[in-house]
């Protein structure tokens, strides 16, 4: 049964099936429990009040309380500040792949329509220096290596990584690396090549071997699971050589069994799981199933290990982090602001998935097209017309690529995107409430 939802201006409230009433103040990022009387005030007639002290004094009725809460600004919350520098670069070290995943967002075969075997490391160095030079000592810079399959050219990861580390020392900038890989090429040679970089790894696998083999076959049609699991085993045996290890799974109408995937992955000592919905999928039924499956794994995780287990699932960790940091997430991602993407021709784009879109190119080498970048500098919740959406400061206006792929326009959301986002944010908020009010909750009364 889905919860009943009521909204009054910036406050949304919902009644869980078990009767608990949870409210969320969208502007203040406040999670609250409310009384039955206040719940009724969401739908009763009211006389608006001001948020001055006089009206606070008289704010005894639930209706007035709701108005006052809506009007008061929390002093502890602030807007996300992405700064004016690029702090994350994604780099396609190759644009070919050894797999042929059915939903591949990189042109269907990892090439983005432009197969390139190897990036020029020499041409990449000046780009790295260009962006790192703009940072102040003490700032952080992260690299995400993508492909194609980046492990087809691990020497580039090593070369670029070592160069970045040499700049790190000279400039006192904290550098980190992450590699997004299908895992099939991870072996001892790769581990040795990565020495000194300690990259974090995101291994893409979409469920148990039978499921994964169907959606992520090799070029020859055979499954890729056996190789990927061997790769994962090598990673876990060399835990000390790597940062965090995540498993990333993509779901769409052809594969919606998130629960089964979660149960299968439980056996591996990884740091977390990122379960996402295919950025091009807009099937309503599939969307609903995905939402329900995500709720189920949240419940499984929370029952098994409380907050820490729940937060091994990236989505829930993200919402908890934002609520704890009390930072309004006005941008879903840093696309075109703090994040840029370099393809295997050293061309620059605003997002890793826009790489094949000529119109989206924002630079080449160390030349940036500021005119192209300028329109991307405004907060995404404004650009994407998120208006009074109660989830805006946790969602950040959503993924531009997803919007473009599902509606044809990067700033127009597909209803399935917002339904999914709001439903899962609801879920996260209710767990947040449970964990942060721990000990005080559970409805016990003092017998008064």
């Amino acid at each position: 049964m889905s919860p009943l939802i009521r909204q009054y201006k910036d406050i949304v409230a919902y009644k869980l099936p078990q009767g608990a009433l949870i409210a969320f103040h969208a502007r203040n990022l406040e999670v609250a429990e409310i009384s039955e009387e206040l719940w009724e005030a969401f739908v009763s007639e009211r006389v608006p009040v001001q948020s001055d002290f006089q009206s606070l004094q008289s704010a005894l009725s639930p209706q007035s309380a709701l108005d006052v809460w809506n009007n008061v600004d929390s002093p502890s919350v602030r807007d996300q500040d992405l700064g004016s520098e690029v702090k994350t670069l994604t780099i396609n070290v190759t644009q070919i792949c050894n797999l042929h995943c059915h939903y591949c967002a990189a042109g269907g075969d990892g090439t983005y329509g432009d197969p390139i075997r190897q990036i020029s490391i020499e041409k990449t160095f000046p780009q790295i220096r260009f962006f790192m030079d703009k940072l102040k000592p003490g700032q952080k810079f992260s690299f995400i290596f993508l492909g194609g399959e980046p492990l087809l050219y691990p020497e580039a990861i090593r070369g670029i990584g070592q160069y970045a580390l040499s700049l790190e020392k000279a400039k006192n900038i904290q550098v980190s690396f992450r590699i997004i890989t299908n895992g099939t090429l991870i072996d001892q040679r790769f581990v040795d090549l990565m020495e000194g970089l300690s990259p974090s790894i995101t291994l893409s696998m979409d469920g148990d071997p039978a499921t994964n083999d169907l959606v992520r076959p090799q070029k020859n049609g055979r499954g890729s699971s056996e190789q990927a699991l061997l790769g994962l085993d090598v990673l876990l045996k060399n835990r000390k050589s790597f940062g965090s290890i995540l498993i990333h799974s993509v779901f769409n109408r052809k594969n919606l069994n998130v629960v089964q995937a979660y149960r299968f992955f439980q056996q591996f000592a990884v740091d977390g799981f990122d379960f996402t919905f295919d950025v091009t999928e807009k099937d309503e039924q599939a969307n609903l199933v995905f939402i329900e499956q995500m709720k189920k794994i949240a419940q499984l995780a929370f029952t098994a290990g409380g907050e820490s287990e729940l937060r091994r699932i990236a989505f829930f960790d993200g919402i908890f982090s934002t609520l704890d940091a009390q930072v309004r997430k006005v941008n879903h991602c840093g696309s075109g602001k703090s994040l840029l993407s370099i393809d295997s021709r050293n061309q620059i784009f605003s997002c890793p998935l826009m790489v094949s879109h000529k119109g989206e190119q924002v630079g080449t080498g160390i030349e940036l097209n500021l005119q192209k970048l300028e329109p991307l500098q405004a907060p995404l919740i404004g650009m994407n017309n998120c208006g009074r959406c109660w989830a805006r400061n946790l969602c950040g206006g959503g993924c531009l690529y997803n919007h473009k792929a599902t509606t044809g326009d990067a700033h127009t959301k597909h209803p399935t995107y917002c339904d999914r986002t709001r439903s899962l944010i609801f879920e996260a908020i209710s767990y947040y409430k449970q964990t942060r009010a721990e000990g005080a909750f559970h409805g016990e009364d003092s017998g008064i």
Binding site: E33, L60, V72, S142, S176, L246, A314, D324, G447
Partner: protein
């Protein structure tokens, strides 16, 4: 009444706990800014209606900077 008692108890552990009527101290709030005072007063008047849970704090804003849905861009 029982429900209101629960709210009082919750309030004592909540971020906006305040001296007036709830039997708790303002100390946890530190030196309150004007806005905090307004909010704390608001909360005392909300007694029995709203309990704001306490964020753990310490979360870094950089964690929420680049998180996207394409690849896991955050979390490090």
């Amino acid at each position: 009444m029982a429900k209101i008692a629960v709210f009082e108890k919750l309030k004592a552990g909540g971020r906006l706990a305040t001296g007036s009527g709830a039997g708790t101290s303002d100390a946890a709030l530190g030196a309150p800014s004007e806005a905090q005072v307004v909010q704390a007063h608001g909360t005392s008047h909300f007694l029995g209606h709203i309990l704001i849970v306490k964020p753990k704090g310490g979360g870094s804003s950089s964690e929420v900077v680049n998180q996207g849905s394409c690849v896991p861009l955050g979390g490090d």
